[in-house]
């Protein structure tokens, strides 16, 4: 049976052992399942463990590999999928009581893609109810209750991919799939000290995923390194006729191999001067250190400011309107009252009141923001800043009243559908992870991956993991 260290190996490292037949996919899946059964409840990390599926897929992978049919770097690798992705025949709760018994008779495209490359699904990750679309005041806004941070179980993992963050940080699976409409991959990745990729809007099919704000929803990987994210992204990216939001075939697919970096361009980094109003002291120090790393190992690092405009306001209105439409029947039926969070029970009513004129004004502002950001990327390959201005917050914090700060980068990055990556870059004095964020031009997912990968070639923060007993 594999030892403790196996749980924190990267996908790339696991793949080498599996391909060379030094590691059995069945033993690996069983080990992760055992660990998930033991530790998962401690963090409220899972909505559901799927041992039957995991062992069936692992056995199939093992058989194929023994026969010499190795499918690639995800073959035999265990993962967890956020519980808003449909898996045929299994409950898909969207983290919310009104959907606790929901079962689909088809797989989400992402699930099929991962099945196709031989990955092994060991469970469905817990999440904030309806991915937070109705608003929430507390970390406990979930059918699975509050997700606890493996670095400090009195702290939150952030949402809405809250279980995905806990699973990767605690070594319960080799990677997890998260989703982001606004912040839900970047924030949990930062709070949990893992690497997370928010792909360009439209590069990963949302077919079979819960729709929150269809013009902003994105699916992406959370894993142990930028390289792992690249490998997972390569498996799930691509045009899908079932999701009309996906980009065309020639722009959707993504391929990755480490050798690509040999021929990649030196990256010009724009260091954002106005992304956050201020940084918590425990965050500021690691970010300053990260800035020095960038200056040493990247082609150039120059200060730059985000364009000024009501980007957050536009994003908020787009999300609110589209969410109210996505959950119209839930709101109108009154079943929204079954949601856990007191804010979630009423916010839908407020969001329904938008006028079409205001929504369209938000969409026009989005168009302007896209052009401004595209112009900024004429000068820089990526822009960088802290992924979050604070470390993981206490579970009991009232998010509505006690954690309010401007987030222009989150606003503009998400309304423009820009790719972003958060990578670990240090710890606070209380040993909570700090994340560094790279954002790139729409379609240039490789630039943010390359930035994360370059940073990780010269640091080892991504190799740290919490000590669990």
């Amino acid at each position: 049976m594999p030892g403790e260290e196996i749980f924190y190996l990267s996908v790339s490292e696991l793949a080498k052992r599996i391909e060379s037949k030094k590691l059995s996919p069945v033993e690996l899946a069983q080990a992760y399942l055992d660990r998930s059964q033991k530790l998962g409840p401690r963090f409220n990390a899972y909505a559901l463990l799927t041992p039957e599926i995991a062992l069936e897929q692992a056995k199939a992978a093992e058989k194929e590999i023994q026969r010499g049919h190795y499918r690639g770097p995800l073959h035999g690798i265990p993962y967890a999928a956020k519980d808003l992705l449909a898996v045929k025949g299994l409950p898909t709760t969207w983290g919310a009581k009104p959907y606790a018994n929901q079962v689909f008779d088809y797989n989400a495209t992402v699930i099929d893609h991962l099945k196709g490359v031989g990955a092994v699904m060991i469970g469905k990750a817990s999440m904030i109810e309806l991915a937070g679309g109705m608003g929430y005041r507390f970390a406990s806004a979930s059918l699975q209750d509050e997700a606890k941070n493996p670095w400090d179980t009195t702290c939150w993992t952030c949402g809405s991919s809250s279980g995905s963050g806990a699973i990767v940080a605690a070594g319960l699976a080799a990677f997890a799939i998260g989703t982001e409409t606004w912040g839900s991959i970047i924030c949990p990745s930062a709070f949990c000290g893992v690497s997370g990729l928010r792909p360009t809007y439209g590069r990963v099919s949302r077919y079979g995923a819960m729709a929150l704000a269809p013009s902003m929803d994105k699916i992406g990987p959370m894993a142990r390194s930028a390289e792992d994210c690249a490998r997972i992204f390569a498996a799930i990216a691509g045009h899908d006729p079932k999701d009309r939001g996906t980009v065309p075939i020639d722009k959707g697919a993504f391929t990755y191999s480490p050798s690509m970096e040999l021929h990649s361009r030196p990256l010009k980094v724009g260091w954002l001067t106005n992304a956050w109003k201020s940084l918590a002291p425990g965050v500021a120090k690691p970010i300053e250190t990260a800035n020095r790393v960038l200056k040493r190992y990247f082609s150039s690092v120059k200060d730059v400011a985000l364009p000024i405009g009501p980007w957050e306001d536009a994003g908020s209105i787009i999300v609110a309107v589209e969410c109210a439409a996505s959950f119209r029947s839930l709101i109108r039926s009154g079943r929204v009252s079954e949601l856990t969070d007191p804010l979630g029970q009423i916010a839908g009513y407020v969001n329904e009141q938008y006028s079409a004129a205001d929504y369209l004004q938000a969409l026009r502002v989005r168009e302007i923001a896209q052009k401004k950001m595209d112009s900024l990327f004429e000068t820089f390959d990526v822009i960088a800043t802290a992924a979050q201005p604070v470390p993981a917050t206490p579970l009991t914090l009232n998010l509505e009243t006690d954690l309010a700060f401007p987030d222009p980068l989150g606003g503009i990055g998400n309304i423009c559908g820009l790719p972003a990556m958060s990578v670990p870059c240090g710890f606070t004095e209380k040993n909570l992870p700090v994340g560094l964020q790279f954002v790139g031009r729409a379609g240039d997912d490789f630039a943010v991956i390359q930035a994360g990968r370059t940073f990780q070639l010269h640091t080892d923060w991504h190799k740290k993991h919490p000590k669990l007993h």
Binding site: G132, G133, G135, G159, S160, W182, G183, S184, T200, G202, S215, V247, N274, W276, K277, S278, L279, A305, L306, E312, D313, A314, G315, S316, I317, V319, A320, V321, G334, P342, Q345, I346, Y349, V350, N351, E352, Q353, S355, Y359, L360, Q361, A362, L363, R364, V365, R366, E367, Q370, Q388, A404, D407, P408, G410, N414, I415, C416, L418, R441, G443, D444
Partner: protein
């Protein structure tokens, strides 16, 4: 770090903000303004920290509140109505900022987001010959 925005609605996580933003049905049907639909406390009684709004903004907020209470009032507790009043008021400043942002008549809405990667960045060359307008354009 400098900050360009003093937006009071912001947070890193969109989810919370989704609750703070709403827009007005600027001309609510008169039935929605019926006094019988008002079951929650008056705004002045429970929104001590509410944003300062113009009279027009306040009227718009009230209009939204009346619309919500008319439609859903019978399923809301007094505490929820108080919360809704606060949320509706806090939603107004973002709306005002958005509306104040200058856009031209020709600025098109990104109706279904297509990242710029899909578009032709350079403007298309003008046709060599003007296209005769023989039919009226749709508005």
């Amino acid at each position: 770090m400098g900050n360009k925005s003093d937006s009071a609605i912001s947070r890193r996580e969109f989810a919370r903000r989704a609750a703070f933003v709403s827009a007005a049905a600027s001309l609510a049907p008169s039935r929605l303004l019926s006094p019988v639909s008002v079951a929650a406390p008056l705004p002045a009684q429970q929104t001590a920290n509410a944003p300062k709004l113009t009279p027009e903004g306040q009227a718009e907020v009230e209009s939204r509140i009346q619309a919500m209470f008319a439609q859903y009032g019978n399923r809301l507790s007094d505490a929820q109505k108080t919360d809704i009043r606060r949320l509706a008021a806090e939603a107004q400043p973002p709306l005002d900022r958005l509306r104040a942002f200058a856009t031209d008549n020709g600025d098109g809405p990104g109706l279904y987001l297509k990242p710029l990667m899909e578009r032709e960045r350079k403007p298309s060359p003008k046709p060599a010959k003007p296209i005769p307008v023989t039919t009226p354009k749709n508005s």
